[in-house]
């Protein structure tokens, strides 16, 4: 041990051996000391605060030279207790919690939860509500894939795709703002339908955005598809075949990169997906490049679905977006006022000035909520990351008895060890990026 203390790489002795804390760019003393050590084996903690571990993911790597011999994931840094918290709120308020789990795909969390509540209640959302849900989900798939592709490229050193992907994502968030009033965590999908109908001129704006996105996606593709540097970093990396994926319960693009066309939108359609014409994209390379190509191709499929949804939305103009049952449908109607969005003045006039019963009804439904018959359900939808399942238990009360989310990120992240052990340190980054884990969803 040298007496000189390196401010960026201090070391201390433990029962496990010498432990270094490397915080800056100065690795000199670390390299010198490791050079003197007898064994080659080094344990490196990557994360939880590391720019390329997708949020607060901690990877414990055992290295021999630059080869990774063991990978362990440390998660839980973003655990927020959302499942427990929903047990203390009404069924409708639960939407506001679950939308914040996987923050890149809020509409999927909301829809899965609402489909679960609707199944428990034995109701179905009206047709137009389903069309809006499908349109919003596919836009959300695009915005989520944009982050996956953009940050994935950024982490492997390609800066420009990130800038272009986030530009397209902004366009999608503009649509979310137009439709729901919020860009993220919208709590827009509600048990029984959606919070409000599309504003005037929304379909035209959506069509305009779809055309812009389609054009820009073509340009973006040229940056990476077939790019020889990109392919050298991604081809044959993070290999996981069908047997491995099934054993580990992997779903979504990672599963489809093994050649299995498993997509719940086709296999178990919900929200009327059986009425839409689209393809399930697969690859047979089982590697990071295959998953990248799948996400690129899924963008176009999502645009196709949105266009078909627009046709349907034009025809269903004026139809209800919430179930007719007044014991379940949220009583208030939202409207844009001078100071932003709030309850519509007509509704305020009715409950405050005209109908005492309407006021009581509003008050009871908003404070107490509706009772859901006892029982349990499991509902699954295809999120951008795979099967998003929700297990809901009701004891017949106005609040959930148990809400559990089967998060695709959580399960898919388990494959990190299988994908990375035996590879180089640098390849871990690409492999984890291709899983596309969102820690908000993993830890909930």
């Amino acid at each position: 041990m040298s007496t000189y203390v390196d401010p960026y790489a201090s070391s201390r002795e433990t029962t496990e051996g010498t432990v270094f804390s490397v915080t800056g760019g100065d690795w000199d003393s670390l390299v010198t000391e490791i050079g003197q050590a007898k064994e080659e084996r080094v344990v490196v903690n990557m994360g939880p605060q590391h720019p390329s571990t997708h949020g607060v993911l901690r990877l414990v790597l055992e290295l021999e030279g630059e080869t990774v011999t063991e990978v362990r994931c440390g998660i839980g840094y973003l655990h927020t207790g959302i499942e427990k918290n929903t047990e203390y709120r009404s069924w409708t308020q639960g939407v506001t919690f679950v939308t914040r789990m996987d923050y890149l795909s809020p509409i999927f969390n909301e829809t899965a939860y609402c489909l679960g509540v609707e199944k428990l209640l034995g109701i179905e959302a009206p047709e137009r509500a389903n069309q809006i849900r499908v349109m919003m989900m596919e836009f959300n798939r695009i915005s989520s894939h944009m982050v996956a592709l953009g940050t994935g490229a950024l982490e492997l050193g390609a800066l420009s795709p990130m800038i272009f992907c986030f530009r397209e994502r902004e366009r999608v968030l503009d649509i979310f703002e137009l439709v729901s009033g919020l860009r993220m965590n919208m709590a827009y999908v509600r048990p029984g339908g959606v919070a409000q109908d599309l504003p005037k001129g929304a379909v035209a704006k959506i069509r305009e955005t779809v055309a812009e996105l389609r054009k820009n996606f073509k340009d973006n593709e040229k940056l990476l598809v077939g790019n020889s540097i990109w392919m050298k970093r991604t081809e044959g990396i993070g290999y996981l075949d069908l047997a491995g994926a099934t054993t580990l319960g992997i779903t979504g693009p990672v599963l489809r990169s093994t050649g299995l066309p498993w997509d719940l939108r086709k296999m178990a359609p919900y929200c009327g997906y059986e009425q839409y014409d689209f393809d399930v994209v697969t690859a047979d390379t089982c590697d990071v490049y295959g998953r990248f190509l799948i996400r690129i191709a899924e963008l176009e499929q999502s645009l196709r679905i949105i266009e078909q949804a627009c046709d349907k939305l034009e025809k269903s103009e004026g139809q209800p977006v919430m179930v007719a049952d007044k014991k379940i449908a949220w009583p208030s109607q939202l409207a844009v006022g001078n100071d932003g969005m709030g309850n519509s003045l007509d509704h305020i006039r009715e409950i405050m000035g005209e109908s005492m019963e309407a006021l009581i009804h509003h008050f009871k439904l908003v404070t107490e909520g509706f009772q859901v018959p006892a029982g349990q359900v499991y509902v699954a939808i295809e999120s951008p990351r795979g099967e998003l399942g929700v297990h809901l238990v009701s004891d017949g009360g106005t609040r959930p008895y148990r809400v559990h989310f089967r998060e695709p990120s959580f399960n898919n992240l388990q494959s990190t060890s299988a994908m990375c052990e035996g590879s180089m340190v640098a390849d871990i980054i690409g492999a984890v990026a291709s899983i596309d884990p969102v820690m908000g969803g993993v830890d909930r």
Binding site: E83, Y88, Q376, Y378, T398, R402, F410
Partner: protein, 211 residues
Amino acid sequence: MSNDERGSFGTHGTGDTSGYGGLVRTQVNAGSTERPYGGYFDQVADDLERAYPDFADAIERVVVDRGELTLHIKRERLVEVSLILRDRLKFENCLGVSGVHYPADTNRELHAVYPLLSMTNNQRMRLEVSVPDSDPHIPSLVEVWAGNNWNERETFDMFGIIFDGHPGLTRILMPDDWQGHPQRKDYALGGIPVEYKGATVPPPSERRSYK
């Protein structure tokens, strides 16, 4: 689960002035569903009975509710039946395990729910195991479905169900030295009161609430 419900709006105390405050409704969970179960459920049950002759002894109840099949299974038989479900009935995927805590369900307080998926046949079903709080042991299914590893750790972390035979049953979301299992019903939600414009808003779990 049987839960007595008092009052017409589920309020506690004397909140109800409607005259129905003394009303007691007893809720009892639906017992076994009788055949035919409908859909592919009969086929699944038949196949399982053929492949596993001890079906009647291992399966406590068969429940079909809201178009979903649930087999309530004894914990001693869980691994055997799972292997048959995986290999003979082609339920290749187990989509995790979800714990549920029913403090009122005496000697069956902790439930573990396993949703299964067959990609080959595009079928779904569910296994449910109940164990007493005093002996919260369930055999691990990691040997059968390796992907259940983290899910079982999560259920252990949140409910204190011990999965025997799990390769490394440690906490996964909470810190290693955490006391208690947060998603059990006897674990308080916590939170601090918030002062707002001179009034104090208690944490959600302590607010006056409907049931």
